[in-house]
């Protein structure tokens, strides 16, 4: 049922990737995502693919779970491949009705699909190895320099933290209300679409009521503890860069150098 859903996709562990500072992970992810788009030579792709595969193995996250993260965009990958396959002009290999399959098309389709797969795997690596709270923490710290141009870094991070904090609570709540209404004979799985939509009312009304009540309580509790924004707040678990982080920056910089030389 609903209680079986994991929040985000954090997979607890002690791998090198888990131990990296979340700020390092976010910045390096951005760098590598950029690299995936900027360096389109075959050797660069080979290196990037090898790197992604190595990181996936190093993360300790089961391959099955990693591959499952591709599922939502499987069709996009498939159609992108198909379109490139059939619409790229070049040396013809086969003819299917009005379309021509070309060698360039296969190449192009393959690279575009590989690009998408790499994007997903690299981003998943971040979310698999970083707890949602560490992520928001890192975002707050990374956005802090932009405060002077009006980016409300602390408020954004606080909003994200609160939202994340309440996702499991609301899921539990939904589960409980659903079960309560099921105990009163409600059925959410059968009937026409209209009937099923109508069946949502007994869930949504109590859910909204409780969400508002919780928001109210939380605001009260925060004010009672003198919360007044991020000014001068310290953190219980402050982020620190360690040797591992410096090493990974070094490796990333070296790889970038290599990519440039391969252009």
């Amino acid at each position: 049922m609903l209680s079986d859903i994991t929040i985000g996709q954090y997979y607890p562990g002690r791998s090198v990737l888990h131990r990296l500072d979340p700020r390092t992970k976010i910045v390096l992810l951005l760098f590598f995502l950029f690299a995936v788009f900027a360096f389109s030579s075959a050797p660069a792709y080979a290196i990037l693919s090898a790197l992604t595969l190595a990181l996936m193995l190093a993360s300790g996250v089961p391959m099955r779970m990693m591959v499952r993260s591709l599922r939502p965009i499987m069709w996009i990958i498939f159609f992108t491949f198909l379109i490139h396959l059939l619409s790229t002009p070049g040396e013809a290999l086969a003819k299917i009705w009005a379309f021509t399959v070309t060698r360039e098309g296969i190449e192009q389709g393959f690279f575009i699909s590989l690009r998408l797969v790499l994007l997903i795997f690299l981003s998943s690596l971040l979310t698999f190895t970083t707890s949602p709270l560490a992520l928001t923490d890192a975002l707050e710290r990374l956005l802090a320099p932009f405060r002077c141009v009006g980016v409300p870094a602390h408020e954004l991070a606080m909003m994200m933290t609160i939202a994340l904090r309440f996702v499991p609570t609301l899921i539990q709540e939904t589960d409980r209300i659903m079960k309560a209404q099921q105990s009163r004979g409600a059925d959410f799985t059968e009937g026409s679409i209209l009937k099923r939509l109508r069946a949502l009312i007994p869930i949504l009304v109590p859910l909204f009521l409780s969400a508002f009540r919780r928001a109210d309580d939380l605001a009260m509790a925060m004010e009672a503890r003198c919360y007044h924004g991020g000014e001068g707040r310290t953190q219980m678990k402050a982020l620190h860069f360690a040797t591992l982080d410096y090493v990974s920056w070094g490796v990333a910089a070296a790889l970038y150098g290599l990519f440039f030389s391969l252009r």
């Binding site: 079986d4 994991t6 209300i177 079960k179 209404q181 059925d187 007994p202 109590p206 009521l209």
Partner: protein, 294 residues
């Protein structure tokens, strides 16, 4: 007729790092017409067990059988019977007032019977009947919004919503949680009246050992997903080690009599459950003492 819990185990989120076994090899029988209490510390598996009683959860292993029908149908032909068996068990969740959603008290209570596809008249008569059972005046309350009522009244509306299904077995998860003393008393006396008048089998979870001692005739104690005690309240409350292990205590009257006996009062028994019984026991002991002196 009874609810039979046969060797059930339940695991939350199996095959993930978050796997947690909530119930281990639980076997118990709840006879029709009894008043059964379930006690246990937070996270002991009580709520998980309750959800098995009306098929909201199905055991990972084992079976739950209501009046001879397995709640998890093995064949398609058994599906209808399983649903009927599930509807025999009325489930009042913790803080049931949080499941109210309709605009009027009447409409909310009618939600259950309407799902049973009863006729309009039947629904209306059931609403009246169950409002009466929870001591809510139909004329005064039926057209009001449930959200303007007091906490105790809201809870009674919610319970009426379950009673309107005419359950043979009524399951209540901490029915008095968060109520003031008056609200608690109202809810408990209502449940006892229901048990006596309608012969409804009651199964309730409570953290209040005194309520359990006063009301229940059968007590199940859970600890870490296992059933650690099953018997009459007298017998179970006598097992002080098991209780301590499970993070529970004896009812106050029992503790009082135990201390009195330790202090030298010649009490014949300490396994009393109500204040009245305790009074009799103490009076008898005092008489005996006076008799010995003179």
């Amino acid at each position: 007729m009874s609810i039979e819990i046969k060797h059930i185990s339940y695991t939350y989120m199996p095959k993930t790092p978050f796997e947690r076994q909530a119930l281990k090899e639980v076997t118990a029988t709840i006879e029709e017409g009894t008043f059964t209490a379930i006690a246990g510390h937070t996270g002991s598996g009580k709520s998980t067990l309750l959800q098995h009683l009306n098929g909201l959860l199905h055991p990972t292993e084992g079976h739950v059988v209501v009046d001879g029908v397995d709640l998890l149908p093995q064949k398609k032909s058994e599906k209808k019977a399983a649903r009927a068996a599930r509807m025999k068990v009325g489930m009042v969740f913790q803080y049931p007032e949080q499941q109210l959603f309709e605009e009027t008290v009447e409409a909310d209570i009618a939600f259950g019977p309407k799902n049973l596809e009863l006729s309009g008249e039947d629904v209306a008569s059931r609403v009246r009947e169950s409002m009466e059972l929870v001591h809510l005046d139909y004329e005064r309350f039926h057209a009001r919004s449930p959200f303007v009522l007091s906490g105790g009244q809201m809870r009674r509306v919610a319970i009426a919503g379950i009673l309107a299904l005419r359950p043979k077995y009524l399951v209540l998860d901490e029915p008095t949680a968060g109520l003031d003393p008056r609200g608690r008393k109202e809810i408990l006396s209502m449940v006892t009246a229901l048990h006596r008048r309608k012969k409804t089998t009651v199964i309730f979870v409570s953290h209040n050992m005194d309520d359990i001692a006063r009301l229940a005739r059968h007590l199940l104690v859970f600890n870490k997903g296992m059933l650690v005690a099953d018997g009459t309240p007298q017998a179970v409350f006598g097992q002080t080690d098991v209780l301590r292990e499970a993070g529970l205590r004896q009812p106050h009257v029992m503790t009082l009599l135990r201390h009195l006996r330790e202090a030298g009062l010649p009490l014949e028994r300490t396994d009393v459950l109500t204040a009245e019984e305790a009074e009799q026991a103490i009076c008898a002991a005092l008489k005996k003492m006076r008799g010995e002196k003179s």
